[in-house]
């Protein structure tokens, strides 16, 4: 497990500001479907018992039913767990120095993107829809000067507050870490010079 307050490869003076996930309402449909799937054998058993109560005393058929139902339940339960993991492991982490975008794609694919705050050029928050307005969740889009020019925080809580805070942190990072910015610009400048003279 990763300690969110002690991230790997932490930068100097780096402190956690936000750890964000999508609003739980976005996964509610999947969870509800999973719960219904898990409870389906229970309902089925209840109906079967109501129609054929003698089946519980059958020495052959009832064990077969128990085996089939238990396998169905366990795989449905596993599906529910995997659906939750797919939501739970997607995360956006905002620190005083950078933004980490962690996306889990299924079980065996994972993308981690990192953005230094001083590279942020523009932050836009969007709340679109009645449900989004009532529950105050939406998207935060970040335009950057980095190789990956576009970061999107999808369906997060309080997007307006988050975008405002990210802008403040970006300004603060620019003021405090001018050397890092100069190094990046210096590297780009020397590469351009080599191309010109080479």
């Amino acid at each position: 497990m990763i300690d969110i307050y002690h991230l790997p490869d932490a930068l100097p003076d780096e402190q956690l500001v936000f750890s964000l996930r999508r609003h739980p309402i976005t996964i509610s449909g999947t969870i509800l479907s999973g719960i219904l799937l898990v409870l389906l054998p229970v309902f089925g058993a209840g109906i079967l018992w109501a129609v054929h109560p003698e089946i519980t005393s059958d020495p052959v058929l009832f064990p077969l039913i128990i085996m089939a139902v238990s396998v169905f339940f366990l795989f449905a339960w596993l599906f529910l767990f995997q659906s939750f993991i797919d939501y739970y492991l997607d995360m956006w982490i905002v620190t005083t120095r950078r933004i980490l975008n962690i996306e889990q794609h299924g079980m065996f694919a994972r993308t981690v993107s990192e953005l230094r705050l001083y590279r942020i050029q523009d932050v836009t928050s969007t709340v679109d829809g009645a449900l989004h307005t009532f529950l105050d969740f939406g998207d935060v889009e970040i335009e950057t000067a980095a190789e990956k020019t576009h970061f999107v925080f999808e369906d997060i809580k309080h997007p307006n507050l988050v975008s405002k805070r990210i802008l403040e942190l970006s300004e603060q990072d620019r003021r405090l870490h001018v050397v890092d910015m100069a190094e990046d610009e210096g590297t780009a400048g020397s590469a351009k010079k080599t191309l010109t003279t080479g």
Binding site: M1, V60, M67, L74, F81, I85
Partner: protein, 84 residues
């Protein structure tokens, strides 16, 4: 006529597949999640419910007579045969 014990073996095979997938899923959860109460609670809930289901099934199957057979006749449906 198929011995009931074969269905039990098939059930164990399904459990083995489930066990492998569940092990991989739990290991991914433990490796990539953040150290928070929610991570521990959800993982414990998954493992707890799974263990409870297996325990209940196992307890029930301990009292089953596996020497019985199942006579599967497609046109008449499943017929039950007492042990010889």
């Amino acid at each position: 006529m198929i011995p009931l014990f074969w269905f039990f073996i098939a059930w164990l095979a399904c459990l083995a597949v489930f066990g492998v997938i569940a092990l991989i899923t739990v290991s991914i959860m433990l490796r990539f999640s953040f150290s928070a109460l929610g991570s521990y609670v959800v993982t414990a809930l998954f493992l707890g419910v799974t263990a409870a289901v297996l325990f209940v099934c196992g307890g029930y199957f301990m009292n089953i007579n596996w020497s019985q057979t199942v006579n599967v006749v497609p046109q008449l449906g499943v017929q039950l045969s007492p042990p010889l």
